[in-house]
């Protein structure tokens, strides 16, 4: 287990990382994104979803390259190594702000959905606090538990989506897709704009989580992430196609939670109806995974920046900030649309694409890290020689110091026993 992994309370496999990534992307995006894309691209939104697959790779390129150059290190660690301590800390504070807003926005999306569609009589603050309690519990258990729970939920998510797909085949109308490219390619390309912010720019969270992938699995990380991008692309395309075929472009762009409204269409005789709550449960499970990852990354970034030995003492204090922030972050539906549609993609592209690319360029230019991605010791040795700029390195040195002392004491006692024997 690497130094970072000790702080993160465990390590995950590349398969678990890939599944976490899929759940993260499907969480909230599956329910809200199709509406946003359909507003711009209309009945051609499915073509936009195909084009978005390429963007998936683009947004993951810099984090994957940085993970290869700095194996076992997180964003907080290698930014200070590349940019120097002061600039690295400023860089990390920007990401801290990003993760804070992202976590609050995910909680707000979930609260809006549950408060509007499932529990309209329940106060919003109660929904947010109840959800936060579960997320806090998950985060306290650590990354390994999150990875395993995502593996369980992953199967159920795809089973339910498959069942919904099968049950709606009798409601599909191919004429809803026509005319194809009626206004040319421009609206289809414009439809990519909201996708860049939501969910693509949010992929930057992987810069914190790649460091908890088992070091022996790091070689397979790129392949796992590419595979998960393909699965995300196919899922997004399936959802967009299904919405257009069942509801049509007009109904899809009017519905705030189109997938949930589409599930209301399922009716087989009088035997099978009102199954939309199953979709809601599945959606809540994906949003739960996303909220858990966002909150975990927020806690971890704060802990590493402030040189904590563990992130756990920060769970409750940060929850105290997130809950009220999620309640005030959007004033109303119009403000939600303005921020999610127009502002978040710009903000997200700066922090999710531009800054990681610049960081990678700086690492290449300053010849930091190991381009071949060899063992962790190769990258951490120079750092310690320079006096240790990494926050985890310092904090973990503090953590491992008593163990090392115990080890040396044990060696001493062993040697005295051997002397006595001789």
């Amino acid at each position: 287990m690497t130094q970072n992994q000790q702080m993160m309370n465990g390590s995950i496999t590349t398969g678990q990382m890939g599944k976490l990534h899929i759940m993260f992307t499907l969480g909230s995006a599956a329910l809200i994104l199709p509406t946003m894309v359909t507003v711009i691209a209309k009945q051609d939104s499915w073509i936009t979803m195909i084009m978005a697959v390429g963007l998936n790779f683009m947004f993951l390129y810099a984090p994957l390259e940085l993970a290869k150059r700095f194996p076992g290190q997180s964003l907080v660690s290698y930014t200070q190594q590349i940019l120097g301590r002061a600039a690295g800390m400023v860089y990390t504070v920007l990401y801290l702000f990003f993760f804070l807003v992202l976590t609050a926005a995910v909680f707000r999306n979930m609260g809006d959905f549950v408060g509007t569609s499932v529990l309209p009589e329940t106060p919003r603050w109660f929904i947010h606090i109840a959800f936060m309690l579960i997320v806090m519990y998950g985060v306290a258990l650590g990354i390994e538990v999150m990875g395993r729970s995502s593996e369980i939920l992953f199967v159920w998510v795809f089973l339910v989506f498959g069942a919904v797909f099968a049950l709606l085949t009798n409601k599909m109308q191919v004429s809803n897709l026509l005319p194809v490219l009626a206004d040319g390619w421009i609206p289809t390309i414009k439809g990519l704009y909201p996708i860049t912010g939501f969910p693509l720019a949010e992929y930057v969270y992987v810069m914190m989580l790649f460091s908890c992938v088992r070091s022996e699995d790091l070689g397979k990380l790129k392949r796992a992430m590419w595979m998960s991008s393909v699965v995300i692309g196919i899922s997004g395309l399936s959802i967009a196609l299904l919405l257009l075929l069942v509801l049509g472009a007009d109904l899809t762009l009017r519905s705030p939670f189109a997938v949930y409204d589409m599930a209301k269409e399922i009716q087989i005789g009088e035997v099978l109806e009102r199954v939309e709550i199953t979709v809601a449960m599945i959606w809540i499970s994906t949003v739960f995974t996303k909220a858990m990852i966002c909150f975990y990354v927020l806690c971890l970034t704060t802990a590493q920046l402030l040189r904590f030995s563990t992130y756990r003492p920060l769970i409750l204090p940060l929850a105290f900030i997130i809950v009220p922030l999620s309640l005030v972050i959007y004033r109303n539906t119009a403000h939600t649309n303005l921020f999610a549609f127009a502002i978040w993609p710009v903000f997200g592209c700066v922090l999710g694409l531009l800054m990681p690319m610049l960081l990678l360029a700086a690492a290449v230019f300053r010849k930091q890290g190991t381009p071949s991605g060899k063992g962790m010791k190769d990258t951490q040795q120079p750092e310690q020689e320079r006096g240790g700029t990494s926050s985890e390195a310092n904090s973990e040195q503090r953590v491992t110091a008593p163990e090392q002392r115990n080890g040396s004491e044990r060696k001493e006692s062993m040697s005295t026993v051997q002397v006595e024997k001789s």
């Binding site: 804070l100 807003v101 904590f308 030995s309 959007y330 993609p345």
Partner: protein, 80 residues
């Protein structure tokens, strides 16, 4: 008012417990940071419960990126 008092009380209890726990582990600096962040959160939560105007990071982001996103929204031709 009652809500604010409950929030304050809960924050106080959590703060004391966190501080004691960190200090007993010999990590007082961690305790200080945790209690500081908790205090910010508690002020935020009490401000919300008393319906006071509290700073919203979204407004800051909107202000900073205003010159960039406005032309893009016009180009997209969407009404938000």
């Amino acid at each position: 008012m009652l809500k604010a008092a409950i929030i304050g009380l809960v924050a106080l209890v959590i703060g004391v417990l966190t501080w004691k726990n960190r200090r007993s582990s010999g990590r007082s600096a961690e305790g200080l940071w945790s209690v500081g962040i908790l205090a910010i959160g508690a002020v935020y939560a009490i401000g919300y419960s008393l319906r006071m105007p509290i700073p919203n990071p979204v407004d800051l982001i909107s202000f900073v990126f205003h010159p960039v996103y406005k032309p893009i929204v016009d180009w997209l031709g969407i009404q938000v």
